[in-house]
């Protein structure tokens, strides 16, 4: 097993389009790294460059101590699981699994042993004699994972492996893959994983660390908790979290202990936020997660007043869509605190919890409330 390093990696397509802009990323040995981002953010391109399916226009990719830029995919010590499984349709499951080993002309008994072991691990023993078209989506995905696992690669690459499965199966496969990663670690052969997804639930639940990408740039690399609580910029703040973080243009003035002006409404900066604030004042983007935007009594201090537009009752919680000074905000409140008589058109007061308020510089988008 080995770590993986991307140093200033670029990708420019022949038509001149620059997809990846000099990214640096270090993935430790045995780490589960998730690349996440909206479509078109070049996360798959990055993965395919690691795999060797795309040429690297600049910079270097290192697996372990080897620069692999010019190595063929088969010689990089990687294994890959594709979004649509990419099983060989004319080969039975067994042949699909051991194709790589047969190409390497490994001894027959070794191939047989590896096939048995992998099929046992993934519970696909009874599928070995079937053709890929006779498998369900979940089974096909397990075979695809098996085909990667059997090679005992240095690095596993997953390219949106669960996006073709239905929601229920996706959840169980998610657990299965996380569990497999953990088990390999316990068995003393930790696997380095690079996992591409556009689904933030997968990213948050599976990754040791998450790399959020946008337009070929890395926005932040951090563990799930840091990513959620201390987003480096407004993009990460808005991308991670459900429903997404409320972001609104506002003005910060540092006089009189500090104030934030949102349209015609002004709130004071509470000590919890003030201690973290590194902004010099001026144009900011004010960010508060719906879960931290609390409903308070009308007239309470440091609250924003708005009009309820839509009430979404989900059972365990309620999403309130509120308009404040022309901005659309969402507040999520637990069902038991929800006043059943509330209707669209009501005026409510909401208090952004200071501990969870984020202040982003409006020009750079960078978080200016992470402390010194």
């Amino acid at each position: 097993m080995a770590g993986l390093q991307l140093n200033n990696v670029d990708k420019t397509y022949p038509n001149g389009f620059k997809a990846v802009h000099g990214i640096d990323l270090e993935i430790e040995d045995g780490e589960f790294m998730v690349l996440v981002g909206p479509s078109g953010c070049a996360k798959s391109t990055t993965l395919r460059m690691i795999a060797g399916l795309e040429t690297i226009s600049g910079g270097e990719v290192r697996i372990g101590d080897t620069v692999v830029n010019d190595l063929a995919p088969g010689k990089r010590g990687i294994a890959m699981v594709f979004q649509n499984y990419a099983l060989y349709p004319h080969m039975k499951v067994t042949k699909n699994l051991d194709f790589g080993l047969r190409l390497k002309r490994r001894p027959k008994d070794e191939i047989a042993r590896a096939t048995t072991e992998v099929s046992h691990t993934l519970e696909i023993e009874e599928l070995l004699d079937r053709l890929p078209k006779e498998l369900s989506g979940g089974q096909a995905q397990r075979v695809a994972v098996g085909r990667a696992l059997i090679k005992s690669p240095e690095v596993f690459l997953f390219d949106e492996p669960l996006s073709n499965l239905d929601a229920k199966l996706r959840a169980s496969m998610r657990v299965r893959i996380t569990d497999l990663h953990k088990r390999l670690k316990e068995e003393g052969r930790p696997a380095t994983v690079v996992y591409v997804t556009h689904d933030q639930v997968e990213a948050m639940t599976m990754g040791d660390r998450i790399c959020v990408m946008k337009d070929g740039h890395i926005m932040q690399v951090a563990d799930p908790v840091t990513l959620y609580e201390r987003p480096a910029n407004a993009f990460v703040g808005g991308f991670i979290g459900m429903p997404e973080m409320n972001l609104a243009d506002a003005t910060l003035s540092l006089d009189d202990g500090g104030r934030i002006r949102l349209g015609d409404q002004v709130i004071d900066i509470e000590p919890d936020l003030a201690s973290r604030l590194t902004h010099k004042g001026g144009a900011i983007t004010f960010g508060i997660r719906p879960q931290h935007f609390e409903l308070v009594a009308p007239g309470a201090a440091n609250a924003l007043t708005g009009i309820v537009r839509i009430v979404e009752f989900l059972g365990h919680e309620v999403n309130l869509h509120i308009e404040i000074e022309g901005n659309a905000f969402i507040s999520v409140i637990p069902s038991e605190q929800f006043d059943r008589s509330m209707r669209a058109g009501d005026t409510v007061a909401l208090h952004p919890r200071a501990r969870n308020t984020q202040i982003f510089d409006r020009d750079t988008g960078q978080n200016a409330s992470l402390g010194g």
């Binding site: 060797g52 995919p73 088969g74 649509n84 990419a86 060989y88 349709p89 004319h90």
Partner: protein, 301 residues
Amino acid sequence: MSVTTPEVTTATSGLTAHQLREQRRAKISATIRYVILAAVGLLMLYPLIWLIGASFKTNSEIFANPGFIPSEPTLDGYIKGWQTSTPYTFARFFWNTFLIIFPKVLFTAISATMVAYGFARFEFPGKKILFATLIAILLLPNVVTRIPQYLLFRDIGWLDSFLPLWVPSAFAGDAFFVFMLIQFLRAVPRDMEEAARVDGANSFQTLIFIVVPLLKPAIISVCLFQFMWTMNDFLGPLIYISSVEKYPVSLALKLSIDTTEAFEWNRILAMSVLAITPALAVFFIAQKHFIEGISSGGVKG
């Protein structure tokens, strides 16, 4: 129960009357449709049916009796026709045809697949110009190249041999087949090939183990087309082959018309029937793959 039953019956019989009318109408329209189809089909097939029937007639009956059922069926045409007026039997001519077809089909399949794989999956300098050339060849009438080709093969010294008939195919000379395979391959997702590369296969191994099995229906179509076209090719052998011992079936049929003063039509017809048999047999055996090959552009994953 006894009360409701009559009501139900009336309702059903009412419905049935309506249904009967519908059914009758459907039956009549189907009958008309099938009669027309059968008549047109028979019209199309009549020459073939007549050919087979006439091959069992005596020479004099062929012109006397317009129907296709022979009044006194005889195998005379087959026996005498097989003997031919040359020192060779038709067995020799069938063997000659085989000697042309076998290498031609085999090499077409190999070369067209390789060239199509190259065009469909790789980027290389001059690809656009080469592809344009390929399409140009596709559009060029065959006749245009006959004379330069003849001169070329004459200078190499391949006249009166089978080489000019199949060597061009070994170098993907049949642009149509290359084009057909390229189109087919374009519709096949690349993921399987990428998976094979990650599994450690080089380009050649990917071609053999992944691409060829995926292309199987298209390759079978190519083989079938090439088989039938070569079997029926008359002009090629006519130009390049001069000695009777090397004549394929298509030329041998003409031979019996040339050399005999009064044409023995029953012999010619009998041998014609034999000449179309292999093509028909091969077509029906491979029909399933053939139709799959021309109708489907892609492969189910």
